[in-house]
């Protein structure tokens, strides 16, 4: 009996050593074949410094043979359902406008099979192709009443879409974003919104009652729309006076401080005057909606995985915020 076991153990040890020899040998062969495949984003040409950018793992410019930037790749992460050690990490590739999503790839995730892991389905990932950032869940994009007919006033502005954002978050953690669209020299839409670190938009939060100011006054989104309407009607910010607290009496029902709104509108109008950083006006592909006064992408959530969906929204929008700031658009 003991001899039988001893023989068995000896055979087991010998065969195991041989097996590891085969495994190790194949590793060397694979290494030779793959060459530099183990390069990380940081090692690749065109790497962008992401120091201090929250949620951004790496980023790089993708260039053609002549050195022209053809796209941007941003690897971003956000905590999903899995523990923080396994965040949802995607590579988001933007067109060279730093806004239109060319493609998304899953780098890693620890989401639950059958739930959040359903993000791996190609049909889910394909919906991101060609849509503009920022992205929202379908039906939750901020739709502004201000996107209406506008007076045909010549403003000397160049056609295109112009965006501006605050560099630092306010005390509540919101970064303010403003986008204007100029057609035939006129401002035809204005989107004013704010996004927090979780990727949640103030317009949406105020609509669903998660961001309230007063019980009976206009919601934050309604006030943002009212301000946008003022720009559309007047084609400028002249006359939009503020007091020492940054508040205005010019637009009825608006009680929020409009310093950020004024600053961003001015920035966008300066860009529009020179045509600097103009984005082409989109054609309204699938998944693209006129959100308020601009265009954003709309996606489906991962079925049955709200937390994972939120992580995806957050990381894609973080990637967009980062790369649009880097590209100066």
């Amino acid at each position: 009996m003991k001899d039988s076991r001893l023989k068995g153990i000896i055979a087991l040890v010998v065969v195991t050593i041989l097996a590891f020899g085969v495994i190790y040998g194949s590793k060397i062969l694979v290494k030779d074949e793959t060459g530099n495949n183990n390069q990380t984003q940081e090692d690749l040409p065109g790497a962008i410094d992401v120091t201090g950018a929250e949620g951004i793992v790496s980023a790089r410019e993708i260039t053609d043979d002549s050195g022209t930037v053809t796209a941007y790749s941003v690897v971003a992460k956000a905590k999903g359902f899995a523990p923080p050690t396994n965040p949802v990490t995607w590579e988001v590739i933007f067109e060279n406008d730093a806004k239109t999503i060319k493609e998304v790839k899953i780098v890693s995730h620890g989401e639950t099979p059958g739930y959040g892991a359903a993000m791996e389905e190609s049909s889910y990932l394909d919906q991101f192709k060609g849509i503009p950032a920022p992205i929202y869940l379908k039906g939750k994009a901020p739709v502004s009443d201000a996107a209406t007919d506008t007076p045909n006033v010549s403003g000397g502005l160049q056609d295109g879409i112009y965006s501006a954002r605050t560099e630092e978050a306010d005390s509540s953690g919101f970064i303010y974003l403003l986008t204007i669209k100029v057609e035939n020299g006129n401002i035809t839409s204005v989107v004013f919104d704010a996004m927090n670190r979780e990727g949640e938009y103030k317009s949406y939060l105020s609509t669903v009652g998660e961001y309230t100011m007063t019980e009976d006054g206009l919601t934050w989104k309604e006030q943002a729309d009212a301000l946008a309407n003022y720009i559309l009607e007047n084609q400028s910010i002249e006359g939009l006076t503020v007091d020492e607290n940054g508040k205005t009496d010019v637009v009825s029902g608006v009680s929020i401080s409009i310093d950020d709104f004024l600053e961003l509108t001015e920035k966008a109008l300066v860009k529009a005057a020179s045509g600097e950083g103009a984005e082409a006006i989109g054609t309204g592909d699938t998944g693209v909606v006129a959100a308020g006064n601009g265009e954003v992408g709309e996606i489906d959530g991962v079925s049955g995985a709200t937390v994972t969906t939120d992580a995806i929204l957050q990381l894609v929008n973080n990637a967009y915020e980062f790369i649009s700031a880097y590209a100066g658009k």
């Binding site: 495994i23 890693s108 620890g110 389905e121 190609s122």
Partner: protein, 322 residues
């Protein structure tokens, strides 16, 4: 054969002298799992070893203290708790928190094994019940699959090949050779078919396992997943189904449980487990199915033993007329 009744040991039939105790068998199983354990360390790092040690230690201590408190005969020395602990760790990815495998180990030993009377009396495989507990209570804790240290990709964590296959995603970056040697994401003890089969060959040499049950389980899963494939009839990917999940680990080390003795019953249960595993892989929400397949078969063992009565020595089978 010796039967313990109360505090007395009774000699009962059959009076065949065999020199193979539970301890020897369990030691053989542990020895057989060592190649796969070495593979886990090689592919997923020393965290794999830490998880195995944590699970084994917790299992051993759980059983020891439970039996001490209950003033029962200590059975820790039979090595069965070591096997349970190793299997619990083998069934989780290397990113699993240590507390999770410890909770699973305590549950497996105390609730699944000791509550039901100890070794041989447990209604289901304790290790798989421990895994099922984690899936039920803390699914995120055992979902952090990672690519191996020797993967050609630069990803850190990844879906399993079986998960990618189920969702129709591209898994071409993992070759069949990777699946054979274990260079793929997965639970630490399940990825290397090569090393698992080496261990299984040792068990076969030692005549510890029922190769019929193992074969029946694997063949059933492969047959059903091949015939009723996602892409159409008779279009299943046999090798991916065989090599990319926990099928070989389950078939070689967990399907061969000692809950049932009669070979016919074991084979029948293996086929049932195979059907359930294949059903989950094809039509279920989860990509795997080995754990639940074997657990359901474990739970059905009682009724199957009644239906398929083993032949009783010295008794003729009476033929029913009309």
């Amino acid at each position: 054969m010796k039967l313990k009744v109360g505090n007395d040991l009774h000699e009962v039939s059959p009076h065949i002298e065999i020199n193979r105790s539970t301890k020897v068998i369990m030691q053989d199983v542990v020895i057989a799992m060592i190649p796969a354990l070495l593979g886990a360390i090689y592919f997923f790092g020393f965290n794999s070893l830490i998880l195995v040690l944590a699970a084994v230690t917790t299992c051993v201590l759980s059983e020891y203290f439970w039996q001490k408190i209950r003033k029962e005969q200590l059975t820790v020395s039979d090595w069965s708790t070591v096997v349970t602990g190793m299997l619990i760790a083998f069934n989780v990815p290397s990113t699993t928190p240590i507390w999770a495998v410890m909770v699973a180990s305590i549950f497996a030993i105390i609730v699944v094994k000791q509550f039901f009377g100890g070794i041989g009396s447990n209604f289901a495989n304790p290790a798989l019940m421990g895994r099922a507990l984690l899936i039920f209570l803390w699914p995120a804790s055992i979902s952090g699959y990672v690519t191996t240290y020797h993967s050609a990709t630069d990803a850190i964590s990844s879906a399993t090949v079986l998960g990618l296959y189920k969702t129709g995603s591209d898994f071409s970056r993992f070759s069949k050779w990777d699946m054979i040697i274990g260079n793929i994401p997965g639970c630490i003890g399940e990825t290397s078919a090569l090393l698992l089969l080496i261990g299984f060959a040792y068990l076969c040499y030692r005549r510890v396992v029922n190769i019929g049950a193992t074969s029946a389980y694997i063949l059933t899963v492969l047959l059903v997943t091949y015939v009723f494939a996602r892409d159409g009839l008779f279009r299943g990917d046999i090798l991916t189904n065989l090599l990319s999940g926990g099928l070989i680990l389950g078939a070689c080390f967990m399907m061969t449980d000692y809950a049932s003795v009669a070979p016919r019953v074991k084979v029948t249960l293996a086929i049932i487990a195979g059907l359930i595993t294949a059903g989950i892989r094809l039509w279920g929400m989860l990509p795997e199915g080995v754990s639940y397949g074997i657990l359901v078969a474990n739970c059905l063992s009682g009724i199957i033993e009644i239906i398929i009565r083993p032949h009783i020595y010295g008794v003729k089978v009476r033929k029913h007329k009309g």
